[in-house]
């Protein structure tokens, strides 16, 4: 699948399915043991260390057999998003579960598609601002009508992005009461509104505690008069009061 945003092209992996009509190639006994184990794990797959532990086969036999199975296209190596350094194997006929891949927002290398996500966020924010009061469905329709994406993002995926905007505090989440500015939204439906105007500052208002050195200090628990860290000798204070 290819998504177009601005002038850049982001690719998401193509996942092929093996041709099941081709007869299974010859396997040694050890290869059969390994293949059956890997196949039994279905879309979760298994880590090479776990293979060695469960089969109790010598390491070199396991490594050789895995290499052979891969060359025969019976198994494939996938990236486990939680443990990127590990060798994780799946039987070829299975697609890795979202627990392994990280889900739709992760690429084949196991990294978050940050650029694509940020692009979608900007698009959704723009549409919410235009709509004044929006639901997930109206935002999804607006994104589709704008045709900035070559692929179709489902309402659920757009909902994920909108909820991320709420977490960023760019958008407020409210339930419609059917009155006033919510008149066009059914009562009880969740809707969204931009938190601030486009001209306002990007960052949310800084709280009082966050504005003073102690509020952002990671060592406040160890700070005391006369101690190694103290308000009298504090570097953060000295910088703050450096006029």
């Amino acid at each position: 699948m290819i998504c177009c945003c601005s002038n850049e092209v982001l690719t998401m992996s193509k996942r092929k399915r093996p041709d099941l009509k081709v007869p299974a190639p010859y396997m040694t006994e050890q290869e059969k043991i390994l293949y059956n184990l890997i196949q039994s794990k279905q879309d979760l797959g298994i880590w090479s260390w776990d293979i060695k532990r469960e089969t109790s086969l010598p390491d070199n036999v396991v490594d050789k057999s895995l290499k052979s199975l891969r060359s025969k296209l019976l198994i494939k190596e996938v990236v486990n998003v939680q443990f990127k350094g590990r060798k994780h194997y799946l039987a070829s006929e299975f697609e890795p579960s979202s627990e392994i891949t990280g889900g739709k927002w992760y690429n084949d290398q196991g990294f978050l598609e940050t650029e694509f996500i940020n692009f979608l966020k900007d698009q959704c924010l723009k549409h919410i601002r235009n709509l004044k009061i929006a639901t997930v469905d109206t935002v999804a329709n607006a994104v589709r009508r704008s045709r900035v994406l070559k692929i179709d993002c489902s309402s659920q995926e757009i909902g994920d992005i909108v909820r991320a905007l709420v977490l960023d505090n760019d958008v407020i989440e409210m339930r419609s009461n059917g009155l006033g500015e919510f008149a066009s939204v059914p009562t009880g439906r969740m809707c969204y509104k931009c938190r601030r105007s486009p001209d306002a500052m990007k960052e949310p208002r800084v709280g009082v505690m966050a504005w003073i050195p102690c509020g952002v200090c990671p060592r406040i628990a160890r700070c005391m008069p006369g101690g190694t860290i103290s308000p009298m000798t504090c570097e953060y204070y000295s910088k703050w009061l450096d006029f």
């Binding site: 979760l44 776990d50 998003v81 939680q82 990127k84 627990e99 990280g102 889900g103 927002w105 990294f111 978050l112 940050t114 996500i117 659920q156 909902g159 994920d160 909820r163 991320a164 709420v166 977490l167 960023d168 505090n169 409210m174 009461n177 009155l179 006033g180 500015e181 919510f182 960052e203 949310p204 208002r205 800084v206 709280g207 009082v208 505690m209 966050a210 504005w211 003073i212 102690c214 509020g215 952002v216 200090c217 990671p218 406040i220 628990a221 700070c223 008069p225 308000p231 009298m232 504090c234 204070y237 703050w240 009061l241 006029f243």
Partner: protein, 567 residues
């Protein structure tokens, strides 16, 4: 047995929810643990935290000296004590302890009370006097300039002067106030003026009668029995109070007496009698004076008056709500809320009122029109603002607003701001997710909902947990292979006191830094102005800027402390 998180507790999909029974069980167990850990006696008054005590002691020390501060610290750390026990713990003379207690009582920082101790088999019960530190009143001392600012906005210069005298001396009788006004001279105009000024302050609820100097506290069993009788037919059981709450409640004057002012009996110019008439004009005037003096206590009955802190807390809470709404929504919503609060303030019995209203749209509109900002507001605009505020609407177009919710939102914003500055944007998103969800969520789910890389998510969660911003539960699933899952939650009942303690710590640090900066430049401050030139003048100006920054930061931080402690 494998155990995979197959549900999405935050999505609206109808997928099967294998997590929720386990999570629900964990939450129930956690709530049970928290209930067991609550201090006996329940109550709503939370004992001061470590840095709360240090901050309070620092305030007393800077205002009254180290000895008084030590006695105060002893009471804050150990709870109510008799004079004898204070002497024993402090290892100073009895007379020194007595003098310190007198100062603290005079300044409303300590409340005495008598309590009966049941005797043994053959001994009679005995009564003793104990002394209790009033933590809130100590912290309020930092707010005196704010109180003065409110009074000076609403009343005249004479009221401000008298008010400042009450702040300085803690509590005064009318006689003392008159003496203070005219240096003890027998001057009728000064007496009348002072009486009138005091009446204005009382009528505005800025001043109140002092509490009972030594109320008697019945043994807990007697009071519980009385409470049980009172609530026999009530649906909600009376919540047991802490000893501090019981003492303050026992000491407080009756509401009818608390703001009892002079009784005016002015006659008409043509000599017609008023409701309260007296035999002759001269006698009448004398009787008036005696009557008023009796009420205000200048006949020697020693009625003491002090600043009514509760009134200021009310006003500051309202102001905080209005400012939060102005920043979060818009000016129109702020005007509407302000009008509702102004109208309903007199009906509020306590500072931490949950709701304002219900008030009809016309009542609110009348109040809106009184202010300059509201004069251009139409009724429809007001309705739209009330809807934006999330007001609950009644059938007769009356509106009620949840103030507790506004305060909670303000508190959330304050803590989220700290998380953003201290830990970064991704931590901010994660924290907001957990704060909004208000339940345990598994690491992977947090990662996918907040769009934070999985390995980064784990690092952030551990950092927040280590610094006590998050609560963590481990779930171990046994089967062919043991798997461990970590669940996370923002637990406001433990986090909010932690944040408040950090605020006290920060306030103490600001105070100490001011003192340090001034001490560092002590010689410069003692120099005559004409000798401060060139580099010295530059240093002096820098010191002035530093002091202004630190002290104004302290005042703003105090607003945040009120948000978490008093509102």
């Amino acid at each position: 047995m494998s155990f995979r998180p197959s549900c999405d507790p935050l999505a609206s999909s109808s997928s099967s929810n294998t997590w929720s029974p386990l999570v629900q069980r964990l939450e129930q167990e956690q709530e049970q643990r928290q209930r067991q850990q609550q201090p006996r006696g329940g109550g709503t008054m939370v004992p001061p935290s470590q840095y709360g005590i240090k901050y309070a002691v620092h305030i007393i020390s800077s205002h009254f000296g180290d000895l008084v501060a030590k006695v105060c610290e002893c009471l804050l750390r150990r709870g109510p004590l008799t004079h004898r026990n204070i002497v024993r713990f402090m290892e100073i003379s009895a007379s020194q302890v007595k003098n310190c207690l007198l100062v603290l009582i005079q300044q409303n920082c300590v409340q005495a009370f008598s309590v009966e101790h049941p005797g043994g088999d053959e001994d009679e019960s005995r009564r003793s006097t104990e002394y209790m530190a009033v933590f809130d009143n100590i912290i309020h001392r930092m707010r005196f300039p704010k109180f003065v600012a409110v009074v000076s906005q609403e009343l005249d210069k004479e009221c401000v002067e008298l008010f400042q005298g009450l702040l300085q001396h803690g509590r005064l009788t009318l006689e003392k106030m008159i003496d203070r006004a005219k240096s003890g001279q027998e001057d009728c105009p000064a007496q009348d003026a002072t009486r009138e000024t005091l009446s204005k302050l009382i009528n505005a609820r800025f001043v109140e009668r002092c509490p009972d100097p030594e109320p008697h506290l019945s043994p807990p069993s007697e009071e519980e029995g009385r409470a049980r009788k009172r609530t026999k037919f009530s649906k909600v059981a009376a919540e047991p109070q802490t000893i501090e709450e019981r003492v303050l409640a026992a000491a407080a004057p009756m509401e009818a007496k608390r703001f009892l002012t002079i009784f005016h009996t002015t006659t008409e110019e043509d000599g017609q009698k008023t409701e309260c008439s007296f035999p002759g004009v001269g006698e009448k005037r004398k009787c008036d004076a005696l009557e008023s003096d009796k009420e205000l206590g200048s006949d020697g009955s020693q009625v003491l008056w002090r600043v009514n802190v509760q009134e200021f807390m009310h006003r500051f809470r309202h102001k905080a709500c209005v400012e939060n709404v102005r920043e979060r929504l818009d000016g129109g919503a702020a005007v509407a809320l302000n009008a509702m609060l102004e109208t309903s303030r007199s009906m509020e019995k306590k500072v931490k009122t949950d709701n304002a209203g219900p008030l009809t749209i016309n009542t609110i509109y009348e109040e809106v029109m009184k202010g300059e900002a509201g004069r251009a507001m139409t009724l429809d605009h007001l309705r739209a603002s009330l809807v934006m505020l999330g007001c609950e609407r009644g059938t007769d177009e009356s509106y009620q607003i949840d103030l507790k919710n506004i305060i909670e939102l303000a508190q959330n914003e304050e803590v989220e701001s700290v998380v953003l500055k201290r830990y970064g944007r991704e931590a901010y998103r994660i924290f907001r997710l957990l704060s909004k969800a208000n339940r345990l969520i598994e690491t992977d789910k947090i990662s996918s909902t907040a769009f934070v890389d999985k390995t980064e998510t784990s690092k952030i969660l551990f950092r927040l947990w280590k610094d006590e911003f998050l609560h963590m539960e481990k779930v171990v699933v046994t089967g062919p292979r043991q798997t461990q899952f970590l669940l996370w939650k923002v637990n406001k009942s433990t986090l909010w006191p932690h944040v408040l303690d950090e605020m006290y710590h920060a306030a103490l640090n600001l105070n100490l830094r001011v003192a340090y900066e001034l001490e560092k430049e002590n010689e410069l401050l003692n120099l005559p102005i004409e000798k401060r030139s060139g580099p010295l003048e530059k240093r002096y100006n820098r010191l002035r800027t530093v002091r202004l920054l630190l002290e104004s930061s302290l005042m703003k931080l105090d607003d945040a402390i009120m948000l978490f402690h008093d509102f």
